[in-house]
């Protein structure tokens, strides 16, 4: 009896328990972490703890666990996927390359960390995301001028790089002071993919090669063309982070002190923690995720939205844009949001002014062209999810009784027409009586 009672009280709670990531409230997200070795869980604990402290529910699994799966009964079990398994040739369970691509295609986020000796599977996932890892499996990024100084001379594969992408939304507004330590494989961006971006690139003196063998041929990847960490924001706003180094996420790199070769300053702590924490905030949509709502338009001086406009009407347009801050929707402030009044090409293109509380508005005159128009906002900025709003509205010409009736400029024509009529009368009279 008591069991039944508990069951009955739990039923109304079910919808709450099963809510997952939604656009309205992208919090309390579940992330699947696939590892080569469960030891990574403790050796990379600082990174994982920072995710957990931000409300993510991490599910650690071995990559070859036969029970893992991304979805069940047609629903995704996770909102994000972290692949810290560079050497895995085959995933266990139902996960394979196609399943991961489908996961991203349905708008979920992905973090891939590769390393030297990365498996073909990881390379294929990266290739599908728009980056190509160096084909030599033993290759590492080597830099003889901007390596991280250590006690032993080493082979200069431990790189200290500070060539970040210049974007506050991707890396946070706080400047990253210390260089980021990187040890791993380099990749290049696919030039035909316009969605992939270099976040951390190698210095111009870097090259990618096997450090243990002599350099017989010129290396295939050199200089700033080598990307160390890249990001992708797909057209469905799914975000992907690709790193050529798994160890850059490790506690050892997070805590290590760093001095870039040739630089006198020695930093107590590398920039890895700040860099990767900020980047993971971006990847998991805690920053740079916009939503637009309350698109409104009406004639100047009226409040209701009309079903049709007339040419040369004065109208007002407003929209509200918010950015997800990780906990709540905050007003988004920018001065470059534009609205188009569009019929095959924009007839009106206007900047929207903002009240800094999320509301954007403008007023303009409907052009002297009738047809079916659209209000369009196409907002695509580096690091932000793209906004694409459109609202259709017809525009009609003047009705016949909306034209001016007596135009002063036309009085001579009126006069001519009437003089022709009187002329006709006089002529008629004269013609009839002149005989």
């Amino acid at each position: 009896m008591s069991k039944l009672l508990i069951f009955l009280t739990l039923i109304p709670l079910l919808p709450i328990l099963t809510t997952s990531f939604s656009l309205e409230n992208p919090s309390s997200r579940r992330v699947l972490v696939l590892l080569d070795d469960l030891a990574l869980k403790s050796s990379h604990s600082v990174f994982f703890n920072s995710l957990q402290s931000r409300g993510f529910d991490l599910d650690f699994k071995l990559a070859d666990d036969p029970k893992i799966g991304l979805h069940r009964y047609g629903q995704y079990l996770y909102d994000g996927l972290i692949l810290f398994c560079p050497t895995t040739e085959r995933f266990g369970g139902s996960i394979d390359l196609a399943a991961i691509l489908e996961f991203v295609d349905s708008g979920h986020d992905l973090i891939i960390a590769a390393d030297s000796n990365a498996s073909d599977l990881i390379r294929e996932i990266a290739t599908e995301s728009g980056v190509d890892f160096d084909e030599d499996p033993a290759a590492l990024v080597i830099d003889h001028s901007s390596y991280a100084v250590s006690n032993t001379e080493g082979d200069h594969t431990l790189i200290a790089s500070d060539e970040y992408i210049k974007s506050d939304v991707i890396l946070g507004s706080k400047k990253i002071e210390a260089p980021v330590l990187f040890q791993g494989i380099g990749h290049s961006l696919n030039p035909s993919n316009s969605l992939v971006l270099k976040v951390l690139s190698a210095s111009p003196s870097a090259y990618s090669s096997n450090p243990k063998s002599k350099l017989s041929n010129p290396p295939s990847l050199t200089g700033s063309a080598i990307s160390l960490v890249s990001i992708v924001q797909a057209r469905n706003n799914a975000r992907i982070l690709i790193s050529g180094s798994l160890s850059m996420f490790s506690n050892r790199f997070f805590r290590s002190e760093v001095q870039k070769a040739g630089s006198p300053t020695k930093h107590e702590k590398s920039g890895n923690e700040q860099f990767l924490t900020e980047l993971s905030k971006w990847v998991f949509h805690e920053r740079g995720h916009l939503k637009a709502m309350n698109v409104r338009h009406h004639k100047a001086g009226e409040a209701d939205e009309p079903t049709i406009y007339r040419v040369n009407d004065d109208l007002e347009y407003s929209v509200e844009i918010y950015e997800w801050s990780g906990a709540s929707w905050e007003p988004y402030v920018a001065d470059d949001v534009q609205v188009q009044f569009y019929m095959m090409s924009p007839y009106v293109l206007k900047n929207l002014s903002t009240d800094k509380k999320g509301s954007y508005f403008t007023a303009f005159k409907v052009p002297d062209v009738y047809g079916v128009f659209q209000f369009k906002v196409e907002y695509q900025r580096l690091g932000y999810t793209s906004l694409s709003l459109s609202k259709q509205i017809p525009v009609r010409p003047f009705k016949h009784n909306e034209y001016e009736r007596f135009i002063p400029a036309a009085y001579p024509y009126y006069g001519a027409a009437f003089s022709m009529m009187t002329g006709f009368f006089i002529f008629t009279a004269v013609h009839l009586y002149s005989k």
């Binding site: 135009i407 400029a409 001579p412 024509y413 001519a416 003089s419 022709m420 013609h431 002149s434």
Partner: protein, 115 residues
Amino acid sequence: MVKSTSKDAQALFQSLRSAYAATPTNLKIIDLYVVFSIFTALIQVVYMAIVGSFPFNSFLSGVLSCIGTAVLAVCLRIQVNKENKEFKDLPPERAFADFVLCNLVLHLVIMNFLG
């Protein structure tokens, strides 16, 4: 080829005037009416060239009413001319009735198109 002089032109106009003087009065009245319409049309074209073509429908109806009147008057002149053997069987009353009917239709259309 004989060189033409101003005397020739004068002689030409003289002969034209003397020939026209023989025209019956009712045809002369029609000619006057045609000249009046053409002149009014020309004034409107000049006016349009100066102030621009803005109420274009008004301009068109003003000018076309003049042209139409002139054309109808010319038609009437052809039909009531005694010299013209082609319309020998057509009584001038019938020609005048046609002229009035056509003018009524013309001015109805012009009124609709004017405003």
